[in-house]
């Protein structure tokens, strides 16, 4: 695989990029902090990535920079065939309710920026016969819930977009993989009380890599969240209004 990776420096993205590198895949990293990207690129080379790992600046809140970043990746990888997007922002519901600027940024990065990037990626992959697009959404987008109203809305929108892509373009060779992690113990969730079934980034990476290999359209990670969310989706509104989940 020739993998373009946005979000490989932290959390679940770091764990997944490590697995890809240890398998000997070729990688190109995108992200906001070039120095941090360089450090991750060197690590992935130590772990066994194919060839040297390149990197370029790309900020999901600045879509004007997407084309140049993708051009660099295409040139270095001689045409990427797999794209992984794990980057995103998280803030708690009280934080987003109190800070409009932060709220706007989360909405922009998690939905608008991610979708616009995927659109450019989709066109490039389809132009060369297809490929794999793996994007991290969240179980927070499965149902409107009190603790994650705004964050969940961005992920709900993203999940619907990715599902649509899969319906329309799978027959053309574009496999879209939507990852729906539950609570995972990363730097992003540090300080929050982990609920039951909280997962580790390494567990998520293992499950997601298998899903990429198989072209599975939706993957819950850890897998138990599939069943947890099935129950949540079935709950009537009057119950959802009463519970804190």
């Amino acid at each position: 695989m020739k993998v373009l990776f946005l979000g490989a420096t932290k959390g679940m993205g770091r764990a997944l990029a490590r697995r890809l590198a240890e398998r000997g895949e070729a990688l190109f990293l995108l992200g906001r902090d070039l120095e941090d990207l360089e450090r991750s690129a060197r690590e992935l080379e130590v772990l066994g990535a194919h060839g040297s790992v390149g990197s370029a600046s790309c900020d999901l809140s600045e879509p004007s920079g997407f084309r140049a970043a993708l051009d660099q990746a295409d040139e270095k990888l001689d045409g990427f065939d797999t794209v992984v997007v794990t980057a995103g922002l998280f803030a708690t519901q009280p934080e987003l309710e109190q800070d409009e600027a932060q709220c706007e940024r989360v909405l922009q990065v998690n939905f608008t920026g991610t979708v616009l990037l995927c659109e450019q990626v989709r066109k490039r992959l389809l132009s060369r016969g297809g490929g794999k697009l793996c994007v991290f959404s969240s179980v927070a987008g499965e149902r409107g819930r009190k603790p994650v109203i705004l964050y969940g809305a961005t992920k709900a929108g993203l999940s619907y977009y990715l599902e649509g892509l899969d319906h329309k373009f799978r027959s053309d060779g574009l496999q879209t993989i939507t990852v729906k992690p539950g609570f995972v113990k990363t730097g992003m969730t540090e300080g929050l009380d982990p609920p039951p079934f909280a997962g580790e980034p390494e567990d998520v990476a293992r499950v997601v890599l298998r899903a990429i290999d198989r072209g599975k359209p939706v993957v819950y990670a850890p897998p138990i969240w599939r069943w947890v969310m099935m129950v949540i989706r079935c709950l009537p509104r009057f119950v959802m209004r009463r519970i804190g989940f």
């Binding site: 420096t9 932290k10 959390g11 770091r14 240890e22 450090r39 991750s40 060197r42 690590e43 130590v46 772990l47 990363t186 730097g187 540090e190 300080g191």
Partner: protein, 456 residues
């Protein structure tokens, strides 16, 4: 030493700190409530932190802040940064775990030059505690193989510090109190195969154990003894001598050693598991079983170096009250008699440890306050039983002071400051150097307040 300008990072405001959580070392005593910051961006979270901790495998209070004081946790800052497969020189972030290092680089023929008895430690923690292992007589401490470190000192500067620098030497074994360790560069050891040739043999008593340890150290790179200090009379200190070396490629299996799944202690065990008769019976049974199965052969490095890693949460064996691990070194010139007296004191005060680890040390480490010095080191677990455990530790320390030995800070939780100062006169000079980089005394731990003169 070079200083690096890094982007200005503001210390986290009190409102940005996560809620205080209960933190402890591996011994689960003491327990401190404090906010712990954990992020991939270690340089950011160390701003304003009073201490950095890793995987929390020191036993007592070495990795604990004062109650309510922010502590940074390095475990997410765990990247390999550079590895030269020709020379074995590795640069990494301080939170890289030894388990991960072994998983990635042992199959390629590289191993840490010195390993402690667990691989669930960070390389930063290994340097801060200047850990030793079964090869101390040959290879010294881990810090002897570190070539440079990247340290954020309390004045906010990030410094690249080479091994000749006095700040480096103060940090090697300095228990994380000279600065926040961000990165380190270490020289790994080339091994002929990823397998170990090991030999075990029963030893009838303490004096023989010491003689055979010293003799084995002349021929083997890795040596250690497990002794039963509850065996009666002349059999006191009987045990198992374990020696080993890396197997040559020609004698090792072609396959890689399998990573065996570990089992877990699911809950805190009841107190009868620590009673004298139970521990004595366990030790006797262990001696018999290991004597019957003694021999030589190829083994995986995992059970050879890290036998207890096979049992997750093994610290639950000691129940909810936890335990302390007592480790001291008695000078070589004091001989076996000093060691026997140590065991006598232990038993007389009601100490009932499971197997005791005995090992001879080589030369003193270059670290300013590193633990090892030439002599015989003894390590054992003591369950926390309030005043009784304190009395045992006091009595053992009295003996150690009289014999000119010292204790290991990475294990300690109960030593009194007067006894520690009597053991280690090096602390004053080390503190003077610390104050040059930390005049306001910002960096401190529960241990440094208890023993090293820091203010609460």
């Amino acid at each position: 030493m070079t200083e690096t300008a890094i982007p200005e990072r503001a210390a986290p405001a009190a409102t940005d700190l996560p809620p205080a959580t209960a933190l402890s070392g591996w011994g689960r005593h003491p327990i401190v409530k404090a906010p712990q910051l954990r992020s991939e961006d270690l340089p950011r979270i160390t701003v304003g932190a009073t201490l950095t901790r890793g995987l929390g495998r020191s036993y007592g209070d070495a990795s604990l802040p004062l109650p309510g004081a922010p502590v940074a946790c390095s475990t997410l800052a765990d990247r390999f940064l550079e590895f030269d497969s020709k020379t074995g020189r590795l640069r990494c972030e301080a939170g890289l775990s030894l388990a991960e290092l072994n998983r990635v680089l042992l199959p390629r023929g590289w191993f840490t030059p010195v390993t402690p008895g667990t691989q669930f430690v960070t390389l930063g923690g290994m340097f801060a505690a200047d850990v030793h292992g079964k090869n101390h007589h040959e290879s010294g401490c881990f810090g002897e193989h570190v070539r440079s470190i990247r340290l954020r000192t309390a004045d906010g500067e990030v410094r690249e510090v080479g091994e000749q620098d006095e700040l480096f030497l103060a940090s090697q074994g300095g228990m994380g109190l000279t600065g926040h360790l961000l990165e380190l560069e270490v020289q790994l050891k080339k091994v002929a195969s990823p397998w170990i040739w090991a030999e075990t043999s029963p030893v009838p008593d303490l004096e023989t154990m010491i003689d055979r340890l010293l003799e084995a150290s002349r021929h083997w790179p890795y040596t250690v003894g497990w002794s039963d200090c509850l065996a009666p009379g002349a059999r006191l200190g009987r045990g198992i001598l374990i020696v080993g070396r890396w197997a040559e490629a020609s004698e090792a299996p072609a396959r890689l050693p399998a990573m065996k799944r570990s089992v877990a202690v699911p809950f805190d065990l009841p107190t009868w598991a620590l009673s004298r008769w139970f521990v004595r019976s366990f030790n006797a049974l262990y001696y018999r079983v290991r004597s019957a199965t003694a021999g030589a052969g190829i083994v995986s490095p995992q059970p050879f170096y890290y036998p207890l890693d096979a049992v997750r949460h093994w610290n639950r064996v000691y129940g909810r009250r936890g335990f302390t691990q007592y480790q001291c070194v008695l000078p070589t010139e004091r001989g076996a008699e000093s060691c026997r007296k140590f065991f006598d004191i232990l038993v007389r005060h009601g100490g009932t440890p499971y197997l005791v680890v005995v090992k001879d040390f080589g030369a003193e480490s270059r670290g300013s306050i590193s633990f090892p010095r030439p002599g015989l080191t003894i390590a054992m677990d003591l369950p926390m039983r309030g005043r009784q455990t304190q009395t045992i530790v006091d009595a053992l320390n009295e003996h150690v002071v009289a014999e000119g030995g010292r204790i290991y800070l990475a294990k300690d939780a109960l030593t009194r400051v007067e006894q520690f100062r009597a053991m280690d006169p090096r602390i004053e000079a080390w503190n003077e150097l610390r104050r040059r980089y930390d005049p306001k005394g910002l960096l401190k731990s529960a241990l440094s307040v208890r023993l090293l003169g820091d203010e609460a």
